[in-house]
Amino acid sequence: MQLTNRAKVLEKKPMTLAERAYLPAIFQGLSITMRHFFMKKATVRYPEEVRPFSGFFRGLHVLKRDELGRERCTACGLCAVSCPAEAITMVAGERKKGEEGLYREEKYAISYEINMLRCIFCGLCEEACPKAAIYLQPDKMAPPRYERDEFVYGKDRLVEPVSPDERSVKGIQLTPEQADKLRARIV
């Protein structure tokens, strides 16, 4: 019974003198490897060179602030519920008087932790969030660390800094050229 058209009939002819002498085949192989010698290398020298991410890359999370610099998160817990890896934990608290400049809603997250070792970067937390507070950044990823507990990111490392310059020290940041290249590709 013939299932596909890919079957190949093997010919078992005795080898010719050229085949038995190995040498033509050896030179063929040598020419192939020599071609590879001059080819462009596939290596990315990682810490110095970062591969450009795709435009919709889901990287390290950020907890956004609103236009007045207040934290958007209201600690509703929908992100934690939607998280398939159960990487998110939070403790909710009530906003005190005088903290209106810090938190947008009356309820806020006292602590908010994402375990980056559990996180699968699926982006469901981002989709679940009703306050547009949590985002997965397209240009930043969780860098390698030596200890496990260093992968539990608290609010100190998640909340967006007030001044944008502080961002680059946490995690891997694209250079301006790389960012430009990326933007050009998306457009």
Partner: protein
């Protein structure tokens, strides 16, 4: 001008050659890794120093500081003797290779060669065939079946391929009529008349010699003595730290020596095209003294032979990262039923060509 007795000059040359072979072998490890990487579309070691040039140093530190392990039941004396012997024999053979022509200062003339003897070729073959003892002793003293298998393979492989190698060499000796490497080199280029390098007269012989050189240095496709996939590590399975380093190192020194021998025997050694024209140009047009022009040509020739050697070393590595390993019965069949008859045929052919005055 410092007056050096002949022996003093020779010992300087030998010391330089010794240091050079070690240096070249060191950087062969680096070259091997870089070439392997390039042939596989990678970049190779580039972290230690600029372009990773300090990598051999890091490797050496690693080798020296690793634990020195003696397997239980191993013969302690022979276990140490094995790698030493491999290294000593590898280093000894470079003494007779002519790395350059004559340097003359005033009335003194020196050869850029450790020892000029009329049995240079015999010396190299004698010493190189001793090298298999290092592998043999090391493999046997390890008290390990994989090591022993590797050692037995190395011994039988070296003996088989030495025959074909020696016979391909006989054809060269028939042409040159001398065993002195310096004489063979000088015959490949004589002042005033155009002389071909031996590769033109001995293409089949060179091919046999090249294949045998791969087998003698235990390089892929003939690296069965140490083939990792079958024998763990072959004869150096049980070796660690610098004893392993000596084995690996001696392999590279052997490659260097065998490349040098091939350059001398078939590719004109320290000769390079138009050397006499260049010398005469310096003397006639630039008004140099004959001696200093000759010295310059000698130095250029030394550069030339090293370029030839490096080309061969590159070829060795290129082949290693291209071809898969032979099966053991294929290896033996190639050696005994193809190369040796071919070498005999080459001898007969050369004899006939000499008889009819073609070469």
């Amino acid at each position: 001008m410092i007056e050096l007795p002949a022996l003093g000059w020779q010992s300087i040359v030998i010391f330089v050659v010794f240091a050079l072979s070690l240096l070249i072998a060191t950087y062969c490890t680096y070259a091997e890794r870089v070439i392997a990487a390039f042939l596989q579309d990678r970049v190779g070691p580039d972290r230690a120093g600029p372009y990773g040039l300090l990598q051999p140093l890091a490797d050496a530190v690693k080798m020296f500081t690793k634990e020195e392990f003696f397997p239980g039941g191993a013969n302690k004396v022979l276990f140490v003797v094995g790698p030493c012997l491999a290294m000593i024999t590898a280093l000894m053979s470079s003494a007779v290779i002519p790395f350059g022509n004559t340097m003359s200062f005033g009335n003194n003339a020196f050869f850029l060669q450790g020892i000029e003897v009329n049995i240079g070729m015999l010396w190299i073959f004698g010493v190189v065939s001793l090298g298999v003892y290092g592998v043999m002793i090391g493999g046997w003293a390890s008290n390990n079946k994989f090591s022993l298998l590797g050692a037995v393979r190395a011994a039988s492989q070296n003996i088989s391929y030495e025959l074909a190698m020696g016979m391909s060499l006989i054809a060269v000796l028939m042409i040159s009529g001398t065993l002195s490497l310096r004489e063979i080199t000088l015959q490949q280029s004589v002042a005033g008349e155009w002389q071909m390098w031996n590769i033109v007269k001995q293409p089949i012989g060179f091919l046999i010699f090249l294949v045998c050189a791969f087998a003698e240095t235990n390089r892929t496709p003939f690296d069965l003595p140490e083939c990792e996939t079958e024998l763990v590590g072959g004869y150096h399975t049980e070796y660690s730290s610098m004893k392993l380093g000596l084995y690996l190192f001696s392999e590279y020194v052997n490659i260097f020596v065998v490349s040098a021998v091939m350059s001398v025997l078939y590719f004109g050694g320290f000769n390079f095209p138009f050397q006499y024209e260049l010398r005469d140009w310096f003397v006639n047009s630039q008004g140099w003294e004959l001696n200093s022009a000759q010295n310059l040509i000698t130095l250029l020739g030394t550069v030339g032979i090293f370029l030839k050697i490096f080309a061969f070393i590159f070829f060795f590595m290129w082949v290693r990262w291209t071809l898969p390993r032979f099966r053991y019965d294929q290896l033996m069949r190639l050696g005994w039923t193809i190369l040796i008859p071919l070498a005999v045929f080459n001898i007969v052919l050369t004899g006939a060509l000499i008889l009819f005055g073609v070469i």
